[in-house]
């Protein structure tokens, strides 16, 4: 009956070795991820950018209807790929030329960039994407206003 403990020891040793091997490429990926988190794309804004707190900004929420219903940036207009044709009218009702548009989704998602590209194709300018998405906005709000 000494076979099972010896198998367990062998398994633990193997697991440790595999984990250590995985740490090597993971360390490079982590450094890259950290650099990317600190680098902004040309059309991206952080919560610290003055444009974010400007009064005339039109906020566009590129997430799902359910996520929007759970909570969104004050005054944000829902606009996503699922109901693009239906929701686009709401944006045009609110938007006026030269009013900047800031699109957001969840942190790490691509939907905001996608919606921003589609809006640019329609000729709307200027359009920005909020880095960190709704989570970044929420973290910067006083607790009482949530």
């Amino acid at each position: 009956m000494t076979v099972i403990p010896s198998l367990a020891i062998k398994a633990l040793r193997g697991a440790l070795l595999l984990s250590l091997l995985a740490c090597i490429p993971a360390a490079f990926a982590w450094v890259k991820l950290k650099d990317a988190a600190e680098t902004l794309l040309p059309d991206e804004l952080t919560m610290h950018d003055p444009k974010v707190s400007a009064k005339d900004v039109v906020w566009v929420d590129a997430r799902s209807q359910d996520a929007y219903d759970e909570g969104h940036v004050t005054g944000a207009i829902l606009l996503n790929d699922d109901k693009w044709d239906t929701l686009l009218g709401n944006l045009f009702a609110a938007w006026q030329p030269e009013r900047p548009i800031i699109v957001y989704c969840s942190a790490g998602c691509e939907a905001s960039h996608h919606v921003a590209d589609r809006l640019r194709d329609l000729g709307l300018e200027p359009i920005y994407v909020l880095k960190g998405g709704y989570d970044a906005w929420k973290q910067n709000q006083p607790k009482a206003s949530l």
Partner: protein, 178 residues
């Protein structure tokens, strides 16, 4: 003219029951570990291609602290790749089984907790490139993989607990020796 069998090749008539038992002993475990290993490899590669998106997927579960997200998003995909490769190649097999079980149980717990809390998120199982499956689909798939994993552990312990005997069916070393 009667043809003689080539020298050195033993003539072994096998009964259907014998070939069936060889299949169960060698073929099925091989198929199971290639399936599990292949899925781990694929999942790891797809996540490693877009670690930024995986950060977002992990954040969606609302259980990890913000500082841990980039570390997990960098480490988990490569752990899956190494575990998958070890399962497929039969190298460090016992360690790969141990880690794959740990990961599958962790994913199952995460997905079940997301379902329980009614979170509307994608499971993040295969990264964004492969399209996001729902939590329910992810949990179902995880359950099936856990069944495969249990079968592999049972075979491994059973074969590992027995004294090893040289078998003419096995070429080279068995994965259970590693």
């Amino acid at each position: 003219m009667e043809t003689k069998p080539a020298e050195g090749i033993p003539l072994m008539e096998r009964s259907p029951a014998s070939s069936q038992s060889t299949w169960l002993r060698n073929g099925l475990p091989l198929l199971l570990r290639l399936t599990l290993g292949g899925i781990f490899l694929y999942a790891g590669i797809m996540k490693a291609l877009d670690p930024g998106a995986f950060v977002g997927d992990l954040r969606g579960f609302q259980v990890f602290p913000e500082t841990a997200l980039p570390i997990l998003a960098a480490f988990v995909p490569y752990l899956e790749i190494f575990v998958g490769a070890a399962l497929v190649l039969g190298v460090l097999y016992s360690g790969a089984l141990f880690l794959s079980g740990g990961q599958l149980l962790t994913f199952a717990a995460l997905l079940a907790s997301a379902m329980w809390r009614g979170l509307d998120i994608s499971c993040g199982c295969f990264g964004r490139h492969a399209g996001g499956d729902s939590v329910e689909i992810g949990l179902l798939r995880d359950g099936i993989l856990l069944l495969i994993w249990f079968a592999l552990v049972w075979i491994f312990v059973r074969q590992g607990a027995k004294p090893r005997q040289p078998s003419p069916d096995l070429i080279g070393r068995s994965v259970y020796d590693v």
